[in-house]
Symmetry: C2
Subunit: 222 residues, 2 copies
DNA sequence: CGGTTGCTTCGGCCGCGAACGAAGCATTGC
DNA sequence: GCAATGCTTCGTTCGCGGCCGAAGCAACCG
């Protein structure tokens, strides 16, 4: 157990894992950039994370794509973040990308940040979703609403993962929607080109079409 | 975030935190024994864990009692253990206390191990409790059953914490019952003297009275 | 008051491991 | 074929941090 924690406990590796919280598989070089160290150092870190089975590897040509080994790893990282937030206030320089992250980002595979919390608020307000402390459910009205939006709920329901759960947002400190429903909603937003990924990181931008769509469907002013 | 993980990443500190997962407040010397290092080294570790607010301190005479700062810390530790279990199989020597832990132990404030999973199984089997992946609920029949046993559910319900949730058992690899319900049930078992703590650790022994009671109330053969 | 116990602070030793430079393999492209 | 790119392995340096011995406080006890 200490070994796993020690792996996350190194700043470079923590950066790597956070970058992978975006949910996408990234190459070793991209991760080297994210970690802020040279490729050869990164390679060592990736090797350790891989043999400890925190990451899985996909070889493709001369690229090596690394992904988190599964949701349990993401959940662990989130819980560590939560504890870190309860800690003494830390000095953290504000930056451009930091603001973007606060605004909208992916959280493993669903939407977080101001946008994620806003979506959750609207869905709860209209009783499309009921969100408890540890789990949530989509109402009949919510299923219809999301269905009209084009979100594939039946596919989400068939998956072997938790259908709907709250996920504590580390910037807003309020829950957004995770689980299969959160992932399906995020997928649909990508398909509709409402949101787009920024470079290699977790940050998202809302497109003009997204601005319109969110206003029409969710009455959400960005 | 890396700082928090690094704190857990040291073997001595990991031992301290695991010992405190028992839910009780322990003195610095007891924790030194649990960690396997000298008191002065332990003191340094406790200082760090305290300033990082993973632990809280209660001074009582010349003793200093340390406790986990809250359920979020316990939850983090559990999630790290879960990931550690998914990792490559580790060589772990079997010991007497290890067996005791597998058999019955506290998990922060509720019952885990063979006993904890057995209790959960029986409650689910009789539809006294419904347990999902991320949350659970006590049925009307279950409330009556637990009430007759003397478990104070109304008090548990009034608390500001999650009422009933599954907690993945790291030895049995199946869920037992956590949350306020799990804590209330454990409290009652202590009151009835069905179970007793072993020394300073998390391990529990089942008393002869407990053996009878568990058989009569839960048809649980130990 | 000493004496004991519980815990912390100080100082110095030592080892692990993170970091990078350089070189070694693969894969792709011209 | 040669060169470029992507990534890893090797070897070395070096600094952080865990560890303990000794000493310093603080609280109880006679």
């Amino acid at each position: 157990m200490a070994e796993v924690a020690a792996l996350v406990g190194d700043p470079a590796r923590a950066n790597i894992l956070c970058a992978l919280l975006g949910g996408r598989a990234l190459t070793a070089t991209e991760l080297a950039f994210a970690a802020g160290v040279t490729p050869q150092t990164t390679s060592g870190h990736l090797g350790k994370l891989h043999t400890a089975r925190l990451l899985v590897l996909m070889k493709q040509g001369r690229h090596r794509y690394y992904r988190l080994a599964g949701p349990h790893v993401g959940q662990m990282l989130e819980s560590i973040m939560n504890v870190a937030l309860e800690g003494p206030p830390r000095f953290q320089p504000k930056s451009r990308t930091e603001d973007q992250l606060r605004h909208a980002r992916t959280c493993y595979d669903h939407i977080a940040g101001t946008l994620g919390v806003g979506l959750a608020d609207r869905l709860i307000e209209h009783e499309h979703v009921i969100l408890g402390d540890e789990a949530g459910e989509v109402t009949a009205a919510g299923a219809e609403f999301l269905g009209k939006l084009g979100v594939d709920l039946s596919h989400a329901r068939s998956k072997r993962r938790v259908f709907c759960r709250p996920c504590l947002d580390w910037t807003e400190r309020r829950p957004h929607i995770g689980g299969a429903v959160g992932a399906a909603l995020a997928d649909r937003c990508f398909d509709l080109k409402w949101i787009e990924r920024v470079r290699d990181g977790r940050a998202l931008t809302i497109t003009p079409a997204g601005r319109r769509g969110l206003m029409e469907s969710f009455s959400l002013q960005i």
